[in-house]
């Protein structure tokens, strides 16, 4: 059994990458988010439950899933407000704030395992919308931190590097 570790020195730390869905070569610059505090990949499947008189336990079958990716990041100016030097209309140019307010459909990918090794790592992919931004700062924690939720439209995919 080989465990999946997260280590920045081994390129196994999770990095979230967002690209405008359907982008052409003129606006496909990705928004790369390495400054993650934590990541949760949610795959919550709904369940249909019923009872039968010939059964002592309820019967259940899975139905549709509600998928999302949740993370907390430290806010960076270029990350949050966009890089004016990046391709106009790209995710890097828009930044998280505009991707959220303009409700842009994005392609996302996040690695689980080694980003540099086809044998060592996989990436979870899909499409979704940036939601759940709520940047906050306090006197005791004087660094802007915000949660991000990628509300996934459809299924996850799995790909190799």
């Amino acid at each position: 059994m080989s465990y999946i570790l997260s280590s920045p020195s081994a390129n196994t730390n999770p990095v979230l990458s967002l690209t405008v869905s359907g982008a052409t070569t003129s606006n496909d610059a990705p928004l790369t988010i390495p400054s993650l505090q934590d990541v949760t990949i949610n795959a919550s499947t709904d369940v249909y439950t019923w009872t039968q008189l010939d059964k002592t336990a309820k019967l259940q079958v899975p139905t549709t899933s509600t998928n999302s990716i949740s993370t907390n990041i430290v806010v960076d100016t270029a990350l949050f407000f966009g890089d004016s030097g990046a391709e106009v209309g790209s995710a890097a140019n828009k930044g998280l704030f505009k991707l959220s307010t303009e409700k842009v459909l994005v392609d996302f990918e996040i690695n689980i395992g080694d980003r540099d090794s086809a044998a060592g790592g996989k990436k979870i992919t899909g499409k979704g919308y940036v939601t759940g931004l709520s940047p906050a700062v306090s006197a005791d924690q004087p660094v802007w931190v915000t949660p991000i939720t990628i509300t996934v439209d459809g299924e996850y995919g799995v790909a190799s590097y």
Binding site: S6, P8, S9, N13, P14, V15, P34, S35, L36, Q37, D38, V39, V74, A139, Q141, P142, V143, V145
Partner: protein
């Protein structure tokens, strides 16, 4: 931080009190402030780092706390008339405009006794985030 605190105290000019440019230790190991009463000594900076946020890409956001101690020894039997004014004035170094870029400013005042000498120790702490 030591320079800014020293400059602030120096600007106050307390009559009957001196401000030394030296650090508060002597070669023999006995603190200089015990030998020279009513002389204010400002120690050098001490810095500690506390991790505030750890990111998975290896970056750490830390809080750096810079501490500076100031010592004043006076006769324990009879305090100078302006003693409280001196203590209040030294404490105000915490809010010196020359100290910038800090998130928190704190000062503690502790009094101890060594025979017939009362030692007033000020500990200034300045917190910055990096």
């Amino acid at each position: 931080m030591r320079d800014q605190i020293w400059d602030h105290i120096n600007s106050l000019k307390f009559p009957g009190f001196n401000l030394s440019a030296e650090l508060p230790w002597s070669n023999s190991g006995q603190p200089l402030y015990l030998k020279n009463l009513k002389t204010i000594y400002v120690d050098s900076d001490v810095t500690t780092n506390n991790t505030l946020i750890t990111l998975m890409n290896g970056v750490e956001i830390v809080q750096e706390i810079t501490s500076v101690k100031v010592y004043l020894a006076t006769d324990a039997k009879k305090l100078p008339n302006i003693y409280e004014t001196v203590v209040s004035g030294i404490k105000q170094a915490k809010d010196s405009a020359a100290i910038t870029g800090v998130n928190q400013r704190q000062v503690d005042v502790i009094k101890t006794y060594d025979n017939d000498v009362m030692i007033t120790e000020f500990e200034f702490r300045f917190t910055t985030t990096k």
